[in-house]
Every structure is written in structure tokens, then in C-alpha cells.
Amino acid sequence: MSLWISRVKVLRFGAFQDRSLPDFQPGLNLLYGPNESGKTTLMMFLRGMFFGFEGRGRASAFIPLDGAEAGGSLALRDGQGQEWLLERWGRGRKARITVSGPAGVMSGEGACQNLIQQVNRSVYENVFAFGLDELASLESLNQQGVKELLYSASLGLGQVSLAAVEKELKEESKKLFHPDRRAKSEIRLILAELDKVRQELHRLEQQPQEYQELRQELDRVLQDIADLEGQSRQIEGELLWLKKLSQAWPVWESWHLTRAELDALPPVEGFPEDGLGRWENLKSQSDRVEEQLGELRAELAQAEAGAGAQTPDQGLLEVGSALMSLWEERVLWEERRSQQERLEKEVAARQARLTEALAQLGLGWGEDRLADFHLSLSRRYEVQNWRQRGEEARQRCRQGEEAREDCRRTLEEKEGACERARISGSASEGGWAFRWGFWILGALLALAGLGGYLGGYKQLAGILGMGGGMALLAALAILLYLSTVRRQRQQDLEEERQRAVTALDQAQAALEVSRARLAQLQEEWGAWLKEAGLPPELPPEAVLDLFSGVEKAQELLQQYREGQRVCQDLEEELADFGRRLGEILRRLARPPASREEVNATLIRLKQELGEARQAQEEKQRWLEKAASLKNDLAKWQGVGDRLREERQNLLAAAGVEGEEAFRQRAELYQRRQELGQRGRELTVQLGLVAGGEGELTRLKEDLAQTTRGDLQTQLGQAQASLGELAGQLARLREEKGKLADRRQKLERAEELSQALLREQTLATRLREAARRWTVGTLAGYFLEQGRRRFEAEYQPQVFQQAGHYFALLTKGAYLKVMTHLEGEKFFVVNRQGQHTPVERLSRGTVEQLYLALRFALIQAYSQSGRNLPLILDDILVNFDPQRARQAVRLFQEMSRSHQVLLFTCHPHLVNLVKDVLGPEAPDPIDLEAGEDQGAPLT
């Protein structure tokens, strides 16, 4: 069904606004316009009406700049004469499309697509509507690009390159996976990783088995260790026993020797305990006793001789104590003698001083009166009292006299004053001066005033005169006042004189009383003196002095009498001493001694007594010693007897007679004892080594059955075994440690979990990559298959037709256009049958070839029912005139089946069309002619 555009109205597109074009014809239409007449705009508008006003690329230049929507309408018709109106406003999704046709009004891109027979934009723009750019751009591309575009053009893929898509798919698939083992790919990497994980998993899956075996192995090792430890303990026990045996061996040997020696000695039935020692002890004791006895006897003889040599004076010894008593008092006696002499002189001196004192007291005074005179403190106080009272009485008399004298003098003064007052008034010297002062001042001033007046100083004279008057007046006033005062004073003086007379009388009376009292006192004192036996004239002061003298004399008297008494006592004592000495001398039948010989006698007696006493003591000492020695002698003889008896006993106990035999028996016994002791000690040592009673028996048995050499050999063997066992144990323990360590590691192992997760992760990646690879591979497959089918179904026809058109255009210079079915290369065949690749053709020829190919494709589309208007925009520029003419003919041929809109800006092309087509040439539509030519669209 051929579709053709009958009317075009551009409402808004590019520079066009509300522009209607002249009606188009179904066949060839020639649209002429110089540059900038809107040719290209119109072509873009027509494309846009079918496929939308694009906002991209070259087409965007035609979108109104003021933001207004592009829009317009096309009237279209088909071969059956049916008419459609296509209207479009706006672009993109917001585009508003309406298609009004015989079946009604439809809207949307779908309606438009139906109208243009499902031909897509890229096919239309590449095949149906193209300009020199599309044609010429082919030439600037390389061979591959040209082919791709041609394919795309024919395949309907627009700008998408089929080869590029195929290549991409192949490369992407190859990156993911390639059957070639050597090729690296994502999937192969994952698979390699998975293999590794699988291997690890395989290893890890053995873990439970390994764990199980490990546990069994560990149990076995533990059992082995326990066994070996048991063995080890046993051998250690044996070794210990052997060491004991070895240790006990020297002891055992000694014990054996001891036993042999003991058995060889003759038996001893009995022997006193420590017999030999006791024997020796007794023997040495006996020797010592004999020696002692000898010494004692010698001493006794000496003591008895000593006692006989001493003969003391017995008489002297008898009075010895009395004599010694006197001797002891001898010093005292000497002292008393000298004291007596001294005191006798003192008493004589005291007597002289007493006699003198008595003489001082007066004639009446002797020793007896003196001793009897009462001299007490109260009596002294009494005298002092007397003296004080007398003094006071005399004092009062003197005071009375003085008072009376004062009163008399006062009276005399008063009487004198009265007399003076009466005679000359009572003015004083001061009163006079005052009084007479005023008088003199008044007179002087008066005289001065007069003098001034006379001298011509009248004013001064006036003042002075007035002052003198005033002074005279004051003197007169004072005179009157003083006369009154004088009378008053005379009266007062008289009163005072009367009072003085009275006072004098009173003083006289008081004096009389005092004198009477004194006289009485003196009388009483005289009485007191008489009573005291003292002379009556003595004043109290003298009495007091007498008292002092008496007191002193009394003291001397006392001293004198005391001296006398002491002398008497001394004399008595000295006499007694002499009597006692005399008695001693008498008893000794010696002549008495005088007082002067006492001392010498005593000294001599004392010396003799000492000698006698010493002899007596010496004798006594010898006697005592002799007694003691006798005593000792008896004792020691007893001891000697006892020792002898004991020795006899010992001999009897040992069953021998005589010391020599006893000694031999003792030696034998001693040796037997020593061997027995040694044997016991060795047995104890063996017991200690064995470590117990039961062990000891076993020890002895074992020792009895072995030799030293055997023991050493056994010891060596046991130690070697033990060493070997220790080595085995160490190995086993190490093994146990390793096994336990491994078991623990297995118990804690996270490897399996991690490996399983890693496996799953890799598997997921693998599946994902495999999915992409599968889709990509299948897509490549389908694409290849599709391309082949497309080529098989479409291309031969297209190329055949293209060859026809190309031959027409080149006027038979080239006859065919060919392509290999599998390949992408195509070529042309010239009149001579030569194959020429496209790249060797000239630009014009290539453009003619592509024009031929496009027309061939257009015919192919037409055969499949797609017939749309062709828009050719000045495509003949590079054609030579002859081939341009051929092209015009070809356009005419195409216009029989399709509407052809031929745009040009070249007048010669218009002429060429006219020239070639003659009357069949269409009237050119002048695009510059404006809207006038165009009828309005409805």
C-alpha cells in the first residue's frame, strides 16, 4: 500500500510558523528553494511528523527556541484514494498525536506507527529519507563502517552495529567461559577455586574419621603409657632394693667377720660386771688409804710434841679479864686526870669574877642574898611601868605650863590690839595710799587743766580739768566708807580680849591638877622600893640597872658552883680506878702502884698477859689437832679393811685366785663383749638399710644368696631397663601430647564450616556466571542464525535489484552488486565482468551504489507492504551530468511506485528534470514563493 503526502502544514517548526505548502502530487515532486529557504527544515519536519520531534542531535535545531511546542499536520493518501490527517504537537512522551482516517480518529504513537506501516525511525531515516550527508558520510567511513551502516540500514538497526553487537557478545562470553582449557575466563577461575575447595572439603570430610581414629589412638597411647609406667615403677622398686643390697653389703660383710671371731673365742661363764675396772679401782683406793695412814701418824707425833712445849702464867691469865677491863679504861682515866687539872684552875678564876661582881653590887650583897634575890620578867616589867607612868605625869605638867604660857601671851596681844585700835583708828598703810592717791591725782589733773588753759591748749585743758574733778569726787566717797568700817573693828577686838582672859584661867587650873597627880605617883614608887628592900631614892631607871647587875652576878655564881661539883665527881672516879688496880696487883702479889705509876704498870701487865695468853692458845691448838688426827686414823683404817674385803669378793666372783688370773679372765670377757656389741650394731645398720623388720629378713636372705659382683651386674641391668623405659615413656607422652593437641584442634576446627560456605558462595558465583554465559552464548547463537536467515531471505533480492539500479545509474558501466552470503564484503561487477571492491570506487560511484542499494531496499520493503514517501535532499551534487540524468530517470521509475519528494537548491537541476522528463516533468514547487501558492489545509 503506497502512502503519499498530499498537503503539509507547519504550525510551528524551525523558522516556519503557520506555513502551508502547495499540494504535493503522488509521484515525483520537485521542491526548489535556494539556501535558507527552509528546505532542510521541511525535510526534518516531515521526518518528525512520522517519528516525533526529537530534542537531540541535528533535529534539536528545529525545536522552537521560545519554548513553544513544535507541531503541524500532514494530509496523506494511499493507493486506494483513502485519506488520512496526521496531526502532531509536542515531543517525547508529552507528544499529542491524532490520526483521522476512514476508520475514525485514533491517537498516540501507535496510531502513527500503524499509519506508517511499522517502519521504524532508523530504517526510514537511513533508507527512505536521506540527504547528501547520509550519502556522503558513507564515503568518509572506512570499509567496515560502511558495511555496518549498510547492514544496519538494511537490518533496521539504526545506529546500532550488528557486527559490534556480535563481537561484544562473543567477547563477553569468552570472558565468562571458553571451551578451550587454556583460555582464562571467569568461570574457569571459579571452577579452579571450587576444585581447591572440593579438595579441602574432601580432606575435611575425613575429620570425623580422623577424630575417631585419633581418639582410639589416644586411648591406646594412654594405655601404653599406663603399662610402661607400671613397669617403670616395678623396676624402680627393684632398683631401689638392689641399691639397698649394695648399700648393705659392707655392713653385711663386717657382721659376718664379727660373728666368726666371736665363735672362735672360749666361752666365759660369768664375770663380774666391770670386773677389771672395779679391781683396778679398788687397788688404787687401797694404795691411797695406806699412804694416808702413814701421813696421819707422822702428824700426830708432831702435834703431841707441840702441846708439850707450851707453859703459860696461870695467875695472870686468871686476872686477865679484870686487867683488860682496866686497860680498856686507861685512856678515859688519862683524860679524866687532865680534865681534873684544867677544871681546878677554872673554878679558881670563876670565884675571883664572882667576888668582883658582888663588890660592884654593893656592900649588902653576898652569895646567899644573890642566890635568893628574886629577879623575874614580871618584876622588870613592873619597874618599867613605873618609869613610864612617871614620865607621862611629868610630861603632862610640862604641857600644862606651856598652855598656860600660850594663853598669857595671847591675852597680852589682844590687850595691845585693843589699845592700838582705840588710839589710831584702825586704818592700814594700804588704805591710806588708796585714799590719798585719789586726792593727789585730782589735784594734779586740776593743775594740768589750768596749765593747758593758760598755754592756749583749751581743749586739752578742758579734758584734764574734768578728770581732776572726777578723782576728787572718788576720794570723798572712800573716806565715808572707811569711817564706818573702823567702828565695827574696835568692837570685834574687845570681844576677842575677853575670850583670851577666860582661856588663861582654864589653863592654870589644868596645870594644877597635873602637878598633884605627879606628886602622888612619886609617893607610891617610894613605897614599892621599900618593899623591895631597895634604897628609897632610886628612880626606876636605876632599879632597872641594878637588876642587870644582879642578873650578871647570879650567872657567875652558878658557873662557880657547877665547876666545884664537876671537880668532885672526877676525883671520885679516879679513886675507884686506883682501887681496882690495887686489887689486881695484890692478887698478883705485886707492889701497889701510885697514881703516877698507874700507866706504866698497866702497860707492863698488859704485855705480860698477852704473852701468857698466846702460849695458852698454842698449846690448846696442838692438843686439838692431835685429837683430830687420832680420829682420822681410826676412820682410814676402817676404809682399808673394807677395800681388802671387796677385792676378795671380786676374785671370788670371777672364780679365780690371784690378780693375774683375774686380769686374764677380764680380758677375754671384754673381747667377747665387744664382738657381741659390734654384731648388734651391724644388725641395726642392716635394719636401717632394709627399712623394716620384715625387709631385714628378706635382705639377709638375699645378701646370703648373692655376691657383690652379681649385685653390681643386676644394678646395671635395672638402671639400663629403667632408662629405656623412660625413653619410651617420653616418646609416648610426646605422642600423646601431639594427639591431644590434634584432637583439640579438630574439636575447635572451623575449617569445614568455612569451606562449605566458600563452596556455596563459589557455586552461586558459578551459577550466576553460567547463567550470563548461557544467555550470552544463546543470544550470540540466535543473532547469528537470525542474521543468516535475514541475509538469505532479503539480501539476494536486494542486491539483484541494487545491481539493476546501479547499472541504470552508471549506464551499464557496472552491471551487478554482489555479496557473499557468509561474509560482510560486497563488491560490484563491471561491464567486463571484473569484480571491484567498494573501496576502489570513486566518491560519486560509491554514492550511486548506495543510492542503488537504498532504492533496492525500498523496493524490498514495498514488496513486504511498506510503501512510504521518499525524501531525497540534493543528493545529485557529486553526480556527473550523464549519471545525474540517469538518476532523474531512476527517480521517475521510483515515482511510479512511491511518492518521491526531491529537494534541491540548484536551478540547473530543475532544468535537468524538465529536460530529461519533458512534459512528464512535474511543476517545481518554489519554497521561496511563500504561502500564497499553497491552499490552506483543513
Binding site: L757, A779, R787
Partner: protein
């Protein structure tokens, strides 16, 4: 008799790895491999805290016949905790850890009863001189038990609370290997009070009573298909009445989220939306984290930007940084732009160009039920690679239609630069 409770868990799959993670942060590795253990420890803690009378483990304690040493040791260690508290454990083995599979000579702690595979045995739980419950159990003898094992269970005696412990596929669930298949009628036949089942990993109460039939599910999800909360049931018993209460245990949760990008003005807005979504998914302690797969659907202005090479990776990196920034963490495991087939394929197929030819070819290929031999040969080097074969779906098992969709998308994307 007073109320009492027991705990029903299954499918521990101890030490089994997380599947489907193409990438994870090294810091998370330890938590990922420890997750099944951590959840199991949580189960034991729960038993102790809830003072359960006993714990039932309904098979697949281990992930494979080659039992991990660590799994075995940890299992024993944790069960010993229960034993110390006087809580008994009853175990049957399933198809993954069938009896006779390789393992160390595990010395079970006291109070652990493992039911044999040779025949159903009964164990009594006694308390205070009275029988609290009778437990009938049977283990799998091999990795693919096809017999209906329930037939071997005896009818319960009247009296004490009775329950069956079995690893079985109820109603031949096609999503799981059909081992030990059985029906609800089979289970009802023996008049037990409770059937503690294992094998199906999604927790569910299949029948509430007479008998109660419960799948405990697995305590820890290990891949995206095991998304959502995973745990066990704490079952309260009052006489013969039961009330099973689900209790989540999984420390790491899997979630898949689709995000509609329609209407998102720009990448910033989309990123904000994704960041919010991520925070919504962030779990609360004691959970450790969430593994999140995100897919973007719908079309919008950001679509073209997302299609630029490296963009999705960058977005994913930003989200991962955010997700890991706090604890518990969120790990966006993948981010894909699932644009789907937004093309008007029939219209394109009507065209006269190469694309039309291609679409026609693909259309014809769709008519085939399986992949044509020619293409199989093309893909064989990878799919029959000795290592690749182990991890990849066999060629003929690949979803052919889905694959063609992807190929179509791929081709159109490349030839047309994506739908306009």
C-alpha cells in the same frame, strides 16, 4: 494432671552452609557459619527457660551423611546442658542424617534417646512416678526412604499422652524429596495426640488436633527459599489437648524484596526508598542480621540510569555499607533490575528487519519443549565440565522458556538499546 510443655524442633542441619550468597563481607563470615549453631543454642536455651519436659528432634540434625565433626561435638555439648537440667531429648534421624551414616562414636549424654531405624520403639517420659507421655519414634535407615513409615507405628494405648516422632513428607509435598511419604489419614490411624514431624522446612501446624500434626520447620533458614521467621514449637499440653506456639530461633533471616521504581524521579529518591526499606527489614536483637535480596521492577526515569554499567553495583555497595553499619546487620545480598519483557513483542515480530527475524526465530524456539540439540552442544563444554556439572543445573533441566525470555531481553537490549 497439671499442664506441662515440650519443645518440638527438626531439621537442624547443623553446620550446613548458607546457599546462594555470591558475596558476603568477611566480618560476617563467622556469624554465617555459626548461624545453625547459634540457633540451636537458642533452642536449648528456650527448653531450659520454658522448663520443657523434653525436647523432640524430628530428623535431619546433620546436613549430610558425612556428619561434620563440629556439628556432632556441638550437638553433644548442647544436649548435655539439657541433660544437666534433667530435660530428656528424643531424636529420630531423617534422610540427611539417616542412621548408619558416617559419624564418630558419639557418646550421647544421659537422657538422650535415639530411636532406631529397625522398628518403631516407644519411650516413656515419667514424672513423679507417673507416665507423662509415651513417645513413638522411628529413624530413617537410608538416604532415600520411599516407604510409608507411618504404617509401622502401633496404635496408641489408652491413657497417657502419646506422640509420634518422624521425618516424613506429608501429602507428598512436591517441593521436597518424597521420602517417607504419608497422609493425614495415615497419621490419624494410630490415635496419637501429637505428631512431631520433620522434613518440611517451613513451620506449620497441619492439623490442630486429634492428632495435632506439626512441622517444626528448620530453626535457621539457609537460603532465600527459606526466608521468613524460622524456629520451633513450644507445645503446651493439658490432658490430651495441645496448643503449639511457634517460637522464632533463627539468628539470621533471609528476605527477598521487590521494589517498584515507577515514579521515582531520580537515583537519590530511589536510594532513599531502598535505605528505608533496608531499615524496615533490620531485625531486633537477639537476631544477628538479615540477608536481603532486592529486585527492582517497573519502569521510570531512573531506569536508564540503572542500566548504566556499574550503577547497580554502586547502589548495592552503598546499601551494604548502610546495612552493616549497625548491629543487628542487614546484608543486601543482591540487587537486580528485573525489567521483564516490556517490549511489544508481537508488534516487533511483524517488522521486516533483523529484529523481526530474530523474534520469529525465538518464537519458533519457544515451541520446542526442551533445548534443541544444537544449542545443547553449544553449551555442553560448561555444563558437562566435570567440575561445573557438580554445581550447575543439567542443561535439560534449565528453564527453557525462562532462558529464552532472558535471551530475548538480552538481544533486544543490545540491538535496540532497551525499549523506548
Amino acid at each position: 494432671m497439671t499442664r506441662w510443655r515440650f519443645v518440638h524442633a527438626a531439621d537442624l542441619h547443623l553446620d550446613s552452609p548458607f546457599v546462594g550468597l555470591a558475596d558476603y563481607h568477611p566480618e560476617l563470615a563467622q556469624e554465617l557459619v555459626e548461624a545453625t549453631f547459634a540457633s540451636f543454642r537458642g533452642l536449648i536455651d528456650l527448653c531450659l527457660q520454658s522448663e520443657a519436659a523434653f525436647l523432640l528432634l524430628a530428623g535431619d540434625l546433620f546436613d549430610g551423611p558425612q556428619r561434620s565433626l563440629k556439628a556432632q561435638l556441638r550437638l553433644r555439648e548442647q544436649l548435655a546442658r539439657l541433660a544437666d537440667a534433667g530435660i530428656e531429648t528424643f531424636i529420630v534421624h531423617g534422610n540427611h542424617d539417616y542412621l548408619g551414616s558416617t559419624g564418630i562414636n558419639l557418646e550421647w549424654p544421659n537422657g538422650v534417646t535415639v530411636f532406631p531405624a529397625s522398628g518403631v520403639e516407644m519411650a516413656e517420659v515419667r514424672r513423679g512416678g507417673e507416665t507423662l507421655a509415651r513417645i513413638y519414634g522411628l529413624s530413617h535407615a537410608g538416604p532415600s526412604e520411599t516407604a510409608n513409615l507411618t504404617e509401622r507405628f502401633p496404635v496408641a494405648e489408652h491413657g497417657p499422652f502419646s506422640l509420634g516422632l518422624l521425618h516424613a513428607n506429608l501429602d507428598r509435598n512436591p517441593e521436597h524429596e518424597n521420602y517417607a511419604p504419608c497422609s493425614l489419614a495415615d497419621l490419624a490411624r494410630v490415635s496419637y495426640d501429637y505428631w512431631a514431624l520433620g522434613h518440611i522446612h517451613r513451620p506449620s501446624v497441619r492439623r490442630p488436633s486429634q492428632p495435632a500434626v506439626v512441622y517444626a520447620g528448620n530453626p535457621q533458614g539457609r537460603h532465600l527459599k527459606e526466608s521468613g521467621l524460622r524456629g520451633c514449637y513450644v507445645v503446651e499440653v493439658d490432658g490430651h489437648a495441645v496448643s503449639p506456639q511457634f517460637h522464632p530461633l533463627g539468628v539470621i533471616r533471609w528476605e527477598g524484596m521487590a521494589v517498584d521504581i515507577s515514579g521515582r524521579e531520580g537515583m537519590d529518591q530511589l536510594l532513599g526508598q531502598l535505605a528505608n526499606l533496608l531499615e524496615e527489614q533490620r531485625p531486633a536483637p537477639p537476631a544477628h542480621g538479615v540477608i536481603l535480596r532486592l529486585s527492582l521492577k517497573g519502569r521510570g526515569p531512573v531506569h536508564r540510569e540503572l542500566k548504566l554499567p556499574g550503577t547497580l553495583e554502586e547502589v548495592l555497595e552503598v546499601l551494604r555499607e548502610q546495612g552493616r553499619g549497625q548491629s543487628p546487620w542487614v546484608w543486601p545480598e543482591g540487587l537486580e533490575a528485573a525489567t521483564g519483557l516490556d517490549w511489544d513483542l508481537p508488534a516487533l515480530r511483524q517488522g521486516s528487519d533483523l529484529v523481526a527475524t530474530l523474534l520469529e526465530q525465538l518464537h519458533q524456539a519457544r515451541q520446542a519443549q526442551e533445548m534443541p540439540r544444537e544449542m545443547q552442544e553449544l553449551l555442553a563444554p560448561l555444563y558437562q565440565h566435570p567440575s561445573g556439572r557438580r554445581y550447575l543445573t543439567p542443561l535439560l533441566d534449565l528453564p527453557w522458556q525462562d532462558l529464552l525470555d532472558r535471551v530475548t531481553e538480552e538481544l533486544l537490549g543490545r540491538l535496540r538499546g532497551g525499549p523506548e
